[in-house]
């Protein structure tokens, strides 16, 4: 495929006086797993929401597969929000029908198989699922679409390390190789092994965009250590500087 799958030009978004994104330029190709990495409040979720058309930027534009967010882009983007949005009276089965209704590219059989492999009964109600299981179900649904772009906002934040491994494995074994997966997270060490590229974002600006191999080769550090070094904040010393 030629061209870029995601292209952000001069994206700016403010909430009141707060600049969440500040002139972001970013291009991402096809067939990649890309991590958007940044501390809390750095603009990760805002960027993802603009990409899938949930938010409008104040300035700049984003093109997904050459088009502005709209009906077409929604049909090729599979989005995992940072919080759960399913009605809790629904059963897992209901959720699957819901997805099958909404998305032509939803592979119900695949979703069913993944759920049963995890021992999740399709008759179970969302209400009765644990937080971790809910997140797994949500990810299974999102990854069971044959999308071109998967936008996963904090997919591993709320689950234990074993479930994290399961989730990461689900991501690597279920995206097709010409699709791109964008994962936002601050839990870098857990995901860096599955990333092609890392985008560092801080205060709404892109600080770095490189392949993970390049980062390791040029710095001799893992992406996680580099992140910790670049974003280290000096703890407040209780104003000791002023003490004579």
């Amino acid at each position: 495929m030629s061209g870029n799958l995601v292209e952000c030009r001069g994206l700016t978004k403010s909430y009141g006086g707060l600049k969440a994104l500040d002139n972001v330029n970013l291009t991402i190709g096809s067939g990649k797993i890309v991590g958007i990495l940044g501390p809390n409040g750095s603009g990760k979720t805002t960027m993802i929401k603009i990409m899938n058309g949930l938010l409008k930027p104040n300035a700049g534009e984003v093109l997904i597969d050459g088009e502005k967010p709209g009906v077409y882009t929604k049909s090729i983007i599979s989005y995992l929000p940072d919080r759960m949005y399913f009605a809790d009276w629904m059963t897992v089965e209901d959720l699957m029908s819901f997805f099958a209704d909404f998305y032509k590219d939803f592979d119900r059989e695949k979703a069913g198989k993944m759920c049963s492999r995890l021992g999740i009964s399709s008759k179970q109600k969302v209400k009765t699922l644990s937080k971790g299981t809910k997140e797994k179900v949500q990810l299974i649904l999102v990854m069971s679409r044959h999308a071109k772009l998967y936008l996963l906002d904090e997919p591993i934040a709320g689950v234990d390390p074993a479930a994290r491994d399961y989730i990461l494995d689900t991501i690597i074994s279920n995206y097709n190789t010409d699709a791109t997966v964008i994962i936002s997270t601050h839990l870098i060490s857990d995901i860096e092994k599955i990333l092609d590229e890392a985008v560092f974002i801080c205060n709404g600006q892109i600080m770095r965009h490189d392949t993970v191999d390049d980062i390791r080769e040029t710095t001799g550090m893992s992406v996680d250590s580099l992140f910790r070094t670049e974003f280290r904040t000096v703890p407040y010393q209780g104003g000791r500087d002023n003490v004579r």
């Binding site: 690597i172 599955i194 390791r216």
Partner: protein, 120 residues
């Protein structure tokens, strides 16, 4: 066999090394078909593109071959395997000798020690 990945070096290099070890040691036997890129990636918990890059290195060294219908197999060429295996062993010996030199051992002392060390 576990995949051991450390933080300080590119992952593809580490994967290449460990795949090579598995091949020359016979863990992946001569002529045998390898698992798919995706399965290997999932086993090691890495990105499929990274695993692909490591496997291309093996192809380049002649340790693996990709047939049109067979997928990627370990080479059936024993000479290549023997050569790479010896190269790796030489590397380990050089590291060992360097370490012994740091400790101030002479060649003679090293040989004596090695003889005394029973290979159980």
């Amino acid at each position: 066999m576990e995949w051991r990945l450390t933080d300080d070096r590119p992952i593809w290099i580490q994967l290449t090394e460990q795949l090579t070890e598995r091949i020359v040691s016979g863990t992946y036997p001569m002529g045998e078909k390898l698992k798919s890129v995706r399965d290997l990636a999932s086993e090691a918990g890495v990105n499929p593109n990274t695993m692909q890059r490591a496997l291309s290195q093996l192809d380049a060294k002649g340790l693996t071959e990709t047939g049109r219908s067979t997928g990627r197999c370990v080479t059936g060429n024993g000479e290549i395997l023997a050569r790479v295996r010896t190269e790796l062993a030489r590397g380990k010996i050089r590291d060992f000798l360097k370490g012994m030199e740091v400790l101030g051992f002479s060649e003679h002392e090293i040989m004596e020690l090695l003889k005394g060390e029973n290979m159980e």
